[in-house]
C-alpha cells in the first residue's frame, strides 16, 4: 500500500488536545508522522490536499443496528458500514438484536469475519442474556474473547432486578460495560410515541418519560451495589433520566450515556401526519426534553453522540403508525446534524463536537487506542469541510434503507474522505 500524505489540513484531535495546522503521513495502516505543514517529505506518497478541511480521528458510533445476521433485507454489514464510512465513521458498535440474537462467540466472530465485507471496523456488542430473554446470562468471558466490547439486551431491556444485578456483576468481572436501553416495557405496551398532549390528540398511546427515567434510576441503584460496575445508558431522551445520570456521576458512580442526533435535533412535532420516519424508541420527546439533551451535551454529562442507526425496508415503514417498526437511519446525517445544531446554533466549539464523536465515546465504552491520533496509532481519519452546506437526500444514501426524517435537510459539514488503516474507505 502506498503511503498517504495529507497536507494543509487543520488537525482537530480532542483526544490529544490538538487543534492546529498539521500534515499527516499514513503508512502501513498507521500514522507515520504528524508535523507542521510542509515538514514531511514523502516522495512516492499519494497526496491528499486537505486545504480548508478538518482532519479528525475517524468518528465512532457506539450504537448501530447492522441487521446481520438474519435481517439482510433491511441492511447488511457491508451496506451499513459503507453508509458509516460516508458519514465519516471508522468504527461502529453493532447491537445484538439480530436473527438469531448475537448471544454466542460464534455469531460475534461471524460478524467480524472479513467475508462480511465491512468498510470500517465493526465492534460487536453481545446480548446480556441468552436470546435477550432476560433470564439467563450469556457467557461474558467467551464473548469478550470473541471480540464483544459490551453487553446489552438493547430493545428488550433487562427488567428483573436480580438478573440485572447478575449482569452488572458478571460484566464487571470481565471489565465490560452493561448497556441498557432504558424503557420499562411494563409501562409501554401498545405505545408508539411520547406521552403528552400531542399523543392524546393524535389518538396514539404515549410512552411516558417515567418509563425511561424509572429504569435508569433502578439501574443506578443496582450499580451502587456492585463495586466498579459500569452502566452505560443508551439513547437517553428525557431530562428526568439525564438528571438521574448527572446525580449518579456526582456520586462517583461509573455511569455513562449517549444521545442520538434526532433527540437533540427534533421533537415529537416532527410526527406531523403520522410520519413513521419520526417513529423510534425512545420516541421523539417534547421541546423541554430536547433542550435538556442540548444542555447535557454542552455541560459534558452526555458522553457520546450515537446514531441508533436502525434501517428498515420501505414496505415496513409505509404502514399505519402503530404497525410500523421503530427506528431511523442515522450514519450519514450525524456529523452534519451535530455541526448544524451544536456548533452553529449552540456555539459548541468544533473540538468539543468532535470529542463527542471520537475520544469520548471511545472512553465511554473503554475502546482503547481508538478515537485519537498519535504517531504509531491506527490510521483511521475523516476529512471534512466544516462550513460546506449540503442537502441530504435519502435516495443517495449508501444504506439499504431510506427511513430517515432528514430527507431533504440542509446540513453543515460535509465528509470529503474517510480513511481506515491507511486506505480510503470513502471519498466524495
Amino acid at each position: 500500500m502506498k503511503p498517504i500524505l495529507i497536507r494543509n489540513g487543520r488537525l482537530i484531535d480532542p483526544g490529544s488536545n490538538t487543534d492546529a495546522p498539521r500534515d499527516l503521513l499514513l503508512h502501513d495502516g498507521k500514522v507515520a508522522a504528524i508535523e507542521a505543514p510542509g515538514k514531511i517529505k514523502a516522495t512516492g506518497a499519494d497526496v491528499i490536499d486537505a486545504k480548508g478541511l478538518i482532519v479528525s480521528p475517524g468518528l465512532i458510533d457506539i450504537h448501530v443496528h447492522l441487521r446481520e445476521p438474519g435481517q439482510s433485507y433491511k441492511e447488511t454489514i457491508a451496506t451499513g458500514t459503507a453508509a458509516a464510512a460516508a458519514g465519516g465513521f471508522t468504527t461502529v458498535c453493532a447491537m445484538p438484536n439480530t436473527t438469531p440474537v448475537n448471544d454466542t462467540p460464534e455469531i460475534t466472530r461471524w460478524m467480524q469475519s472479513p467475508e462480511r465485507g465491512a468498510a470500517i471496523h465493526v465492534l460487536p456488542i453481545a446480548a446480556a442474556t441468552i436470546g435477550s430473554d432476560g433470564e439467563t446470562l450469556t457467557n461474558y468471558s467467551a464473548l469478550k474473547d470473541a471480540g464483544a466490547i459490551a453487553v446489552t439486551d438493547d430493545g428488550r431491556p433487562i427488567l428483573g432486578d436480580a438478573i440485572m444485578l447478575q449482569a452488572l456483576r458478571a460484566a464487571t468481572q470481565q471489565g465490560l460495560p452493561v448497556i441498557q436501553h432504558a424503557e420499562d416495557t411494563r409501562l409501554t405496551g401498545g405505545c408508539s410515541m411520547n406521552a403528552g398532549v400531542l399523543a392524546f390528540r393524535l389518538g396514539l398511546r404515549g410512552i411516558p418519560v417515567e418509563a425511561e427515567s424509572g429504569l435508569v434510576e433502578r439501574d443506578i441503584a443496582l450499580v451502587r451495589q456492585v463495586p466498579n460496575a459500569h452502566l452505560h445508558v443508551a439513547h437517553l431522551s428525557t431530562k428526568k433520566a439525564l438528571d438521574a445520570v448527572r446525580a449518579a456521576r456526582k456520586a462517583g458512580l461509573h455511569v455513562t450515556c449517549e444521545v442520538t442526533p434526532h433527540h437533540f435535533a427534533l421533537t415529537e412535532e416532527r410526527i406531523g401526519h403520522y410520519d413513521t420516519n419520526a417513529k423510534m424508541n425512545p420516541p421523539l420527546r417534547a421541546e423541554s426534553d430536547r433542550a435538556a439533551m442540548i444542555e447535557g451535551l454542552l455541560d459534558g454529562t452526555i458522553d457520546a453522540i450515537a446514531t441508533d442507526h436502525a434501517p428498515h425496508a420501505t414496505h415496513e415503514k409505509e404502514q399505519e403508525f402503530d404497525r410500523a417498526p421503530n427506528g431511523i437511519t442515522g450514519l450519514e446525517t450525524a456529523l452534519g446534524l451535530a455541526l448544524r445544531v451544536l456548533h452553529l446554533q449552540h456555539k459548541m466549539p468544533l473540538a468539543k463536537v468532535l470529542a463527542l464523536l471520537t475520544a469520548r465515546p471511545a472512553q465511554a465504552l473503554g475502546l482503547k487506542g481508538r478515537g485519537t491520533l498519535a504517531v504509531g496509532s491506527a490510521a483511521g481519519l475523516v476529512l471534512f469541510d466544516p462550513s460546506e452546506k449540503w442537502t441530504f437526500h435519502a435516495a443517495d444514501s449508501k444504506s439499504k434503507a431510506k427511513n430517515t426524517p432528514f430527507d431533504g435537510w440542509d446540513l453543515n459539514g460535509r465528509v470529503h474522505a474517510t480513511i481506515i488503516e491507511g486506505r480510503i474507505a470513502f471519498r466524495r
Partner: protein, 342 residues
C-alpha cells in the same frame, strides 16, 4: 398547522421524488375535524341541507356512476350504512371491502389495498381503520380523496359534522349562520370514555372553532388532564352533575371495552358517577339535548328512559348522517352546479 412544526424548520424540498410521507393529501379529503375552516363547515352544512331537500332523481345525477369504495377494517352499522346510502343517493356506484372477506385477511397492506381499489376505478375511498392516522397513509398512497369514517382513537370528522347539524337543529340555528361565534352561548359536555373516543376528539376540535365551550367529563383513567390542552376552549370537569348543570347539550360516550388495553374500570362505580339517568337529567339538565354517537350500551352510560326520552337527539343524529355524508362526497368528488367544493 401546529402538527407539522419541527424543532428545526425543514428546508424546502430539493429532491426530485418526495418521500412517501411528503406526498400531498387530496384537498377533497376529510380526515381531521381540524382541517375544516369555519366557511368550509358552513358550506358543508348548507350543502347537506340542499342535498337532503333535493328531488331524489336529480340528486342521483350528481355523482352518477362515479365509483366510491368503502374500506372497513372495523365493524360499523351507522357510519357504513349512511355513507353507502349517501353515495347511492347521489348516483355513485359503491363497493364495500371489509377486512373479513378480502385479501386484507391474507396480509395485504393498506397501501396495496388502496392502490388496488384505485386501479379498479375508485375515485374516492371511505376508510374505517382501527389504526390512528391510517387515512393519511391511504391518501398518500393513492392520491385519492379519503373520507375518514373513524381511525383508531384519533378522529371521526363526519360524525362531528353530523353532531353539529343535530345541535344547530336543536338550537334552531340555520346553517347559513355558521360563524366562529355561532355557538358562543352554548356549552357542550362530552362525557365518558374520552381517552379512547375518536368522536370526542373530532367534536372537541370542531366545536370550539364555532365559539362553543366544551366540557370534557369523565374519570381520570378515561380522561387524562392533557386532554384539555388539545385545543383552546376545552375544560375538564370531573363532576358529572356540575357538567350537566352547565350544559346546553350533553354528549354521552360508550366505554370502549375493545380499546381499554388492560385498564380496569369499576363499572358499578362508573354507572353511579356518570350514567345518564332520567332522575338525574330531570333534576339538573331538564332542557338539555342528550346526544350519543352510538353504539349505545343501554344500562351502562345511558338508561333506556333517557335514550328513548323526549330530550334524546340520538335518532336525529343518525338521521343526519346521510345528508352530511352526501355533502362530504360531493365535496370530495368535485363540484357540480350546487353543493360543489369551493
Amino acid at each position: 398547522m401546529a402538527l407539522t412544526r419541527t424543532a428545526i424548520r425543514k428546508p424546502p424540498q430539493k429532491s426530485s421524488a418526495p418521500s412517501f410521507f411528503q406526498q400531498p393529501i387530496h384537498p377533497g379529503s376529510a380526515i381531521s375535524a381540524s382541517d375544516f375552516s369555519v366557511p368550509e363547515v358552513r358550506h358543508i352544512l348548507e350543502s347537506a341541507d340542499v342535498l337532503e331537500k333535493e328531488n331524489a332523481f336529480r340528486r342521483a345525477e350528481r355523482l352518477a356512476r362515479r365509483r366510491v369504495a368503502l374500506l372497513f377494517y372495523e365493524s360499523s352499522t351507522r357510519t357504513r350504512t349512511s355513507f353507502e346510502l349517501a353515495a347511492k343517493g347521489l348516483g355513485a356506484d359503491t363497493t364495500l371491502v371489509s377486512s373479513l372477506s378480502s385479501s386484507i385477511e391474507k396480509g395485504e397492506s393498506l397501501k396495496d389495498t388502496g392502490i388496488t381499489l384505485k386501479a379498479l376505478g375508485a375515485e374516492c375511498i371511505i376508510l374505517r381503520s382501527p389504526y390512528s392516522g391510517a387515512p393519511y397513509l391511504l391518501a398518500q398512497a393513492t392520491g385519492l380523496p379519503v373520507l375518514n369514517a373513524g381511525d383508531g382513537m384519533a378522529e371521526h370528522p363526519s360524525q362531528a359534522l353530523l353532531d353539529l347539524r343535530t345541535m344547530l337543529q336543536f338550537l334552531e340555528i340555520p346553517a347559513r349562520k355558521i360563524s366562529d361565534k355561532v355557538l358562543r352561548s352554548v356549552t357542550v359536555s362530552i362525557v365518558g370514555d374520552i381517552l379512547h373516543s375518536r368522536v370526542a376528539r373530532s367534536n372537541a376540535l370542531l366545536l370550539p372553532k364555532l365559539g362553543a365551550k366544551v366540557i370534557l367529563c369523565g374519570p381520570p383513567a378515561l380522561l387524562p388532564e392533557t386532554a384539555a390542552c388539545m385545543t383552546p376552549g376545552l375544560m375538564i370537569e370531573r363532576d358529572y352533575d356540575a357538567a350537566l348543570r352547565a350544559s346546553t347539550i350533553v354528549m354521552m360516550l360508550r366505554i370502549q371495552a375493545e380499546r381499554l388495553a388492560g385498564l380496569s374500570i369499576d363499572l358499578d362505580d362508573y354507572r353511579t358517577r356518570y350514567q345518564a339517568r332520567a332522575d338525574r337529567i330531570a333534576a339538573v339538565a331538564p332542557k338539555a339535548l342528550i346526544m350519543h354517537p352510538g353504539p349505545i350500551i343501554r344500562g351502562m352510560e345511558i338508561t333506556a328512559e333517557v335514550a328513548d326520552g323526549p330530550q334524546s337527539g340520538i335518532a336525529q343524529q343518525v338521521h343526519n348522517g346521510v345528508p352530511i355524508r352526501m355533502a362530504l362526497l360531493v365535496r370530495a368528488l368535485g363540484a357540480t352546479k350546487k353543493g360543489g367544493r369551493r
